[in-house]
């Protein structure tokens, strides 16, 4: 029998606010243990939460960017469970009446656009972190109270590749909006996956398992594939899949049962009596809407049209907002989108990840100027690569490097003619062989002339003179 998976994803994204969601503590990542805490986020008796408006604004941005409907009134609730990293014994979270719902995003799979619906987006506070020593355990509450949004998809995803594409798109939108840095290793972007399988053609969903603890896109894809295989095997053997929560083990590439449905927590949700209902007025939403930046999909479409780029190049250039901005700054200087695309994709991205381009020693201004030097014929493409290396090492402007190293291309016809003649005289033996029919020796002559000029001769002119002289000789 043929099976297909039905996949739903839950993303937890840390919002990049300056302070925590219910107190004024900083949200810095690298601080000393428990340095960023106060009576509110450590759950001292008698402390009351005050909602961070900026966190709500960030959540609304994400909701708007994913076409969600925003609820004018939403409610925070308390979710109870005992764990040392949860200082109050409950987590404050939207529940029941969420901030936003019924959105969607588009993903591209093999050139095909597919719409994935979002069930809802809600806000909650993060928990702290337990640290286990040999003889005792410790709690670090720096992370406790950092604002999170949970983005829950509908079960629209049908393969591990689609899941990967969905997560990348969600991450890209969050980063474009500058509301979350999307760092999976540091835990600012986490995801849980719900997987079930069913025979192709069957309408009803199968029994699903939730897989937690997946901290990279690659592992998400692997965990889904593992779960599909496991569940199909269970069904084929005539047994039933048990609804449960499973943990991904990236060392063994397997999922393990964590707890069954029967062992599931009863979180005893009830409306948080310490917070008013959250009222989001429509005019505020409108205001936030006006601040939304162009997102990657819109940018990609614009790049294809405006700069005549291929879909592939455009999607590479728009994967990061800062990379797209870098590209546009370079084009503004050199006015040559195709050349800029080639240099950025093949040279710059070889040295840096798309997120690091922004902080590379080569500024877009300098790269633009380098391309201008190529276009004006001041230096050859080959010399340009050498200059690029120097720029990488020193951060200097290309003109300065060209001048200092005397790299200006020789385009003086008398000089080039002289060099060509010299080479042809020296390589008499090969010139004869060329005339005897070994046409591919032409490249060898070009190389010799370039060598004599220390790479500075204008290659087009060298070609031209060689052709002329070899014909004439």
């Amino acid at each position: 029998m043929n099976y297909e998976p039905v996949i739903g994803l839950e993303v937890h994204a840390q919002l990049k606010t300056q302070s925590k969601i219910f107190c004024g503590c900083s949200t810095k990542f690298d601080a000393k243990e428990n340095e960023l805490t106060c009576p509110v986020c450590t759950g001292m008796p008698g402390c009351l939460p005050v909602l961070n408006k900026r966190a709500v604004e960030f959540a609304i941005k994400m909701a708007l960017a994913t076409q969600c409907r925003i609820n004018e009134k939403s409610l925070f609730a308390r979710k109870h469970y005992f764990y040392p990293d949860l200082p109050k014994g409950y987590q404050i979270s939207h529940y029941d009446k969420h901030l936003a719902q019924k959105g969607h995003i588009e993903i591209s799979i093999g050139g095909q656009i597919k719409k994935i619906r979002l069930h809802r987006i809600h806000m909650e506070e993060d928990a702290g972190k337990n640290i286990h020593g040999t003889f005792s355990s410790y709690v670090n509450l720096n992370r406790a109270g950092i604002p999170l949004i949970e983005i829950v998809s509908e079960p629209d995803v049908r393969s591990s590749q689609e899941a990967g594409a969905y997560l990348r798109e969600i991450r890209s939108i969050l980063r474009y909006l500058e509301v979350c840095d999307g760092n999976m290793e540091e835990g600012s972007f986490r995801c849980d996956v719900n997987v079930s399988v069913r025979p192709v053609g069957q309408k009803e969903f199968g029994i699903r398992c939730e897989v937690k603890n997946i901290n990279s896109f690659r592992f998400v894809e692997k965990a889904i594939e593992y779960e599909m295989g496991r569940q199909i095997e269970v069904l084929e053997s005539g047994a039933k899949v048990i609804q449960e929560t499973r943990l991904w083990d990236s060392d063994q590439n397997k999922t393990f049962s964590m707890r069954s449905k029967e062992e599931a927590h009863d979180y005893r949700y009830f409306p948080e009596p310490d917070l008013h209902p959250l009222i989001v007025e429509p005019h505020w939403v409108e205001e936030i809407k006006r601040t939304l930046p162009e997102l990657s999909s819109e940018k990609k479409t614009r790049f294809i049209k405006m700069y005549q780029l291929s879909e592939y190049d455009a999607s590479l250039l728009t994967q990061e907002k800062s990379l797209a901005q870098y590209f546009e700054s370079v084009v503004e200087i050199c006015k040559e989108p195709k050349l800029a695309t080639n240099w950025i994709l093949s040279e710059l991205l070889r040295e840096f990840g798309p997120e690091q381009v922004e902080s590379s020693p080569i500024t877009p201004q300098h790269l633009g100027e380098l391309l201008v030097l190529i276009m004006k014929g001041t230096i050859s493409g080959k010399i340009a690569k050498h200059v690029f290396e120097k720029m990488l090492q020193t951060g200097q402007a290309p003109q300065a490097i060209v001048q200092k190293e005397g790299l200006v291309q020789v385009s003086d016809s008398t000089q080039i003619e002289a060099l060509v003649e010299e080479v042809l005289k020296e390589q008499k033996v090969f010139v004869d062989k060329y005339h005897a029919g070994q046409a591919k020796l032409f490249g060898f002559f070009v190389g010799e002339v370039m060598k004599k000029s220390h790479g500075k001769a204008n290659p087009a002119m060298v070609n031209e003179f060689l052709k002329k002289k070899l014909k004439g000789a």
Partner: protein, 230 residues
């Protein structure tokens, strides 16, 4: 004083109320009338539900509010080998009987499968209690009521009959549910010589009127100067 209109809820003079407490309270109300206030009869029809409602809402919140006393960060921590054991012992040994009773009741009413029947229902009744007061304050500026159906019982006397004990709160608890300001002041003694209190309730942000009436009453009586015999 002359401008004040004061409501007296008929639902607050209940069956089973200690006779001399009712008498003392009615005398106090008569005194206020003599001081020049306009007295009117009002009704707070959901009063009888206030106690059960309160003990569902308050225990639910208490079970949640007290979750933070887990031995991890501060306060008492019992010695134990595992986390589960530490939680169990710390909370088992650290809380007193009445607190544990309330935590258990509150945990129960919030549990899945029981939430709708208990906590949710109680929240809805709470809204009705609130509306009673909103309705009443449309007709009067302040409300005057007895404080408790009986005078003080002996220490530990009703510990094994918590329902009876909780009923002592019947007149003061609606105020908590409706989140209204209130004040209690001495207004006389029962036959055993135990003090009786008079409760004054006002609408939100009208504490000023409450203080005004209480002060005028205190100035024209001597009750606050007398002490019960010990």
């Amino acid at each position: 004083m002359k401008k004040l209109c004061i409501g007296v809820p008929r639902d607050y003079f209940v069956e089973g109320m200690q006779k001399d407490v009712e008498k003392v309270t009615r005398e106090a109300i008569g005194h206020i009338k003599k001081m020049g206030a306009k007295m009117i009869d009002i009704s707070l029809p959901h009063t009888e539900y206030a106690v059960p409602t309160y003990y569902l809402v308050a225990t639910a919140e208490a079970s949640s509010n007290l979750a933070r006393y887990d031995g991890v960060k501060y306060g008492y921590r019992a010695k134990a080998l595992t986390l589960q054991e530490m939680y169990r012992k710390t909370r088992g040994e650290g809380f007193g009987r009445e607190v544990k009773r309330r935590i258990m009741l509150g945990t129960f009413v919030l549990s899945s499968g029981y939430y709708d029947a208990y906590y949710k229902k109680a929240s809805q009744v709470r809204t009705l209690v609130k509306k009673d007061f909103e309705e009443a304050f449309r007709k009067c500026d302040l409300i005057v009521t007895p404080t408790s159906p009986t005078t003080a019982f002996k220490l530990g006397e009703k510990l094994n009959d918590p329902l009876q004990m909780y009923l002592s709160d019947i007149f003061t608890i609606s105020t908590n549910l409706a989140a209204l300001p209130g004040l209690v002041l001495p207004c006389g003694f029962d036959q055993k010589g135990l003090p009786v209190g008079l409760q004054i309730l006002g609408p939100h942000f009208k504490e000023e009127n409450i203080f005004h009436l209480a002060y005028a009453y205190e100035q024209s009586t001597e009750w606050h100067k007398r002490k019960p015999k010990l």
